[in-house]
């Protein structure tokens, strides 16, 4: 029978192809995940699971915190942490969207995402988030669940679909060898300084997350805070608030880096410009991380931070869980662990990130330790950062501002 080996040779690749296709089409059946309200069931269900946490991986201090602080605590609860480092949150959201498009309703690869308001809104649009669990976490008692910025993320109701774990506060980073405190007291004085020192200030082009914040900071300054734009998107309010705003941004272009002919594309790019001495000031969402940059010599010793008189922008970072997550219970445990006051303290010490919990709800010892964390002279204290913090706008405003900025400033 000379044809038999041929058939046998064919059988293997076909079987492989068939299995591959089958794996694409269907998904493994999962046991129903434990109810978040029954925490002991969650804990026992999570034992032995591996949680795939998709998060921004470009911050060494934060990565060290995850490896040294979060992973061992999860291991104690029988959960293995797999940190999946990504450069853009949209990548993780796209992965879940792709799974949804392929009909994968369970056994998904993404268990938890460190998400921001805009990407959260994308997921709400496609209905991919698991909801109604965040308030059930035991450590949620430390979080001020009634705060506006915790109840709604960039204007999108949170509805227990995500759990707060840190707070981002914006600040202006500047080199005090080039600018005086008077130059950074307000946006006006900053722009006046830029005019006499052309090329030494710029911001990343939106839709970069931080570039978008920088543009909003300038807008807040023009309209005296975000109060006229509070709530859902309103065309009339938007038109009124931005009257003349983009013209003003075009007018300051000659004072910007490269005469505003172009803008850096990312926060990483603008930090490099500052480290290289090409620019002397920039806006950041992570003022705490600046201390490390100064210590390791990337930034000059004379680096300082300021909050312009119009206030700084503040928002919460959240952990969200996709509906099709394979290890939902482990993801609950991760979200809960991140809200643990001790973990929050370690996060603050390691990265300078402002805690996602309300510190006044923790024990007095913890509060004192928070207050005693030594501060680099280059960074602002928690009090200074939160003194005049302003809320974010609804994500529909953000998208509109980014689009209009692109059309009326970048492409002009």
């Amino acid at each position: 029978m000379p044809h038999k080996p041929v058939l046998r040779r064919l059988a293997v690749p076909f079987a492989v192809a068939a299995v591959t296709l089958a794996a694409c089409g269907t998904s493994e059946p999962d046991a129903p995940a434990a109810d978040s309200a029954d925490w002991s069931a969650v804990l026992s269900d999570a034992k032995g699971q591996t949680v795939n946490w998709y998060m921004y991986g470009g911050d060494d201090a934060l990565n060290a915190f995850v490896k040294d602080e979060v992973a061992p605590r999860l291991a104690k609860r029988g959960v293995t942490l797999k940190q999946v480092r990504i450069t853009d949150t949209a990548d993780a959201v796209n992965k879940v969207l792709g799974e949804k498009q392929a009909g994968r309703t369970s056994g998904g690869a993404v268990d938890a995402i460190w998400v921001n308001g805009e990407n959260f809104a994308t997921g709400v649009q496609a209905d991919i988030w698991s909801c109604g669990w965040a308030d059930d976490l035991p450590n949620a008692k430390y979080v001020d669940l009634t705060a506006d910025a915790v109840k709604s993320d960039f204007g999108v109701p949170v509805d227990g679909c995500e759990a707060a774990w840190q707070q981002a506060s914006s600040a202006l980073v500047y080199d005090s060898a080039d600018l005086d405190p008077a130059d950074v007291a307000s946006v006006d004085s900053l722009l006046a300084w830029a005019k006499t020192n052309p090329g030494k200030f710029t911001y990343p082009a939106p839709p970069d997350f931080t570039g978008s914040m920088a543009v909003r900071s300038l807008l807040y300054d023009q309209i005296g805070g975000p109060s006229t734009l509070a709530g859902a998107f309103d065309e009339q309010a938007y038109t009124k608030a931005t009257a003349g705003f983009y013209d003003r941004l075009n007018q300051i272009e000659p004072s910007l880096w490269r005469q505003g002919e172009t803008y850096p594309t990312s926060q990483a790019a603008i930090e490099k410009l500052y480290a290289d001495g090409e620019i002397s000031a920039y806006f950041t969402y992570g003022p705490g991380a600046v201390a490390t940059q100064v210590t390791d010599g990337t930034y000059p010793e004379s680096t300082r931070e300021a909050i312009p008189s119009s206030g700084n922008i503040s928002n919460y970072s959240f952990i969200t869980i996709p509906k099709n997550a394979a290890h939902r219970s482990a993801a609950f445990v991760l979200a809960d662990t991140l809200q643990d006051p001790e973990v929050q303290l370690a996060l603050f010490e390691a990265t300078g990130a402002y805690p996602g919990i309300d510190v006044s709800r923790t024990s007095e010892t913890t509060q004192r330790t928070f207050a005693d964390v030594p501060q680099s002279p280059s960074v602002l204290s928690l009090e200074e950062l939160s003194a005049n913090a302003q809320p974010e706008l609804a994500s529909a405003y953000l998208t509109r501002i980014e689009k209009d900025w692109t059309a009326q400033v970048l492409q002009k």
């Binding site: 000379p2 044809h3 041929v6 058939l7 040779r9 064919l10 690749p13 076909f14 492989v16 192809a17 296709l21 694409c24 853009d88 949209a90 796209n94 969207l97 949804k100 498009q101 805009e118 990407n119 809104a121 994308t122 649009q125 496609a126 090329g199 082009a205 839709p207 490269r258 002919e261 172009t262 803008y263 850096p264 594309t265 410009l273 290289d276 001495g277 090409e278 994500s395 998208t399 692109t406 059309a407 970048l410 492409q411």
Partner: protein, 295 residues
């Protein structure tokens, strides 16, 4: 004899069956992916529950200033990088072939650069050519410019010099390696024959060497063109946010937090694929005509 043995015994059918697994993969991932892109560019929106068939996405893309100013830039970067890399690569290969002992060493150097990822190449170009980079600092140190800011902008520039420099730097050795491999003993013999028949060096190059190189180098140049027109990370690191090549515009539109932008992203992707295919097809037609005339 069963029917099955007759069927599997035929060489054509056997070949087809053996190729089937590979074709299946190409079919699913390439053809399937492209078909999905076309479907989504025509309004199919699986994430938002269906959608409506229309050419709206193409209309939006045609009106988008980001896309309009991108087409010329994409073509400029793709064609200029390919032409420069091909010319330089063939030139280097011809020079290297003349070298005696240095040939093996230089060939290895060319091959070495193939292993460098484009991302690393782009970072090197940034370190070299950016306003705070080595070239500008050197120019400042030797007094060519008074201030680093006076140095001409070679990265994030409007023309795309930084991007082109990276592609030429990376792709020239690739072309050179292909050309060197094509300069076989056979070519040497043909050249020797033409020399004994009295052909001058320039004639040998024009009528023997270059025609022999044209097929493999042409194929390699097509690869370079397709790559440089579709690559993302180099222009994102060395280019401007506006105008940006189509690959960057596609990705940015795809990553828009508003999912209703996805059809436009897919429309731009289809446009990019069509542009690249058209240039490649045009090149093939021209070379076929030239070859026929030559023959």
């Amino acid at each position: 004899m069963t029917t099955l043995s007759v069927v599997t015994g035929s060489p054509a059918v056997r070949r087809a069956l053996l190729l089937a697994p590979a074709m299946l993969v190409i079919g699913v991932f390439f053809v399937g992916g492209f078909a999905q892109a076309i479907a989504q560019s025509l309004g199919h929106q699986p994430l938002l529950g269906g959608g409506r068939w229309s050419l709206d996405a193409y209309r939006v893309a045609a009106d988008d200033p980001a896309v309009r100013s991108s087409i010329a830039l994409t073509l400029r970067i793709g064609i200029l990088s390919t032409v420069l890399a091909t010319t330089l690569g063939v030139g280097f290969a011809l020079v290297v072939r003349r070298l005696g002992a240095g040939r093996a060493w230089l060939t290895r150097l060319f091959q070495g650069t193939l292993a460098v990822p484009h991302l690393v190449g782009a970072l090197c170009i940034a370190l070299l050519l950016s306003p705070s980079g080595m070239t500008s600092r050197t120019a400042h140190a030797v007094g060519l410019v008074d201030d680093a800011q006076q140095f001409p902008a070679l990265t994030q520039d409007g023309f795309g010099w930084g991007i082109i420099a990276e592609y030429v730097w990376k792709e020239t050795p690739f072309i050179a390696v292909i050309a060197l491999a094509a300069m076989s003993v056979n070519l040497q013999r043909l050249e020797d024959v033409s020399r004994t028949l009295g052909a001058a060096p320039w004639q040998r190059l024009r009528h023997v060497t270059l025609p022999m190189l044209s097929a493999p180098v042409g194929a390699a140049a097509l690869l370079v063109l397709a790559f440089t027109m579709g690559s993302y990370e180099v222009p994102v690191l060395l280019g401007r946010p506006f105008p940006a090549p189509l690959s960057v515009v596609t990705y940015q539109t795809f990553n828009d937090t508003d999912l209703t932008s996805r059809p436009e992203a897919m429309a731009i992707a289809v446009l990019l694929a069509t542009l690249t295919t058209m240039i490649a097809a045009g090149y093939l037609v021209v070379t076929q005509l030239a070859r026929r005339r030559h023959a």
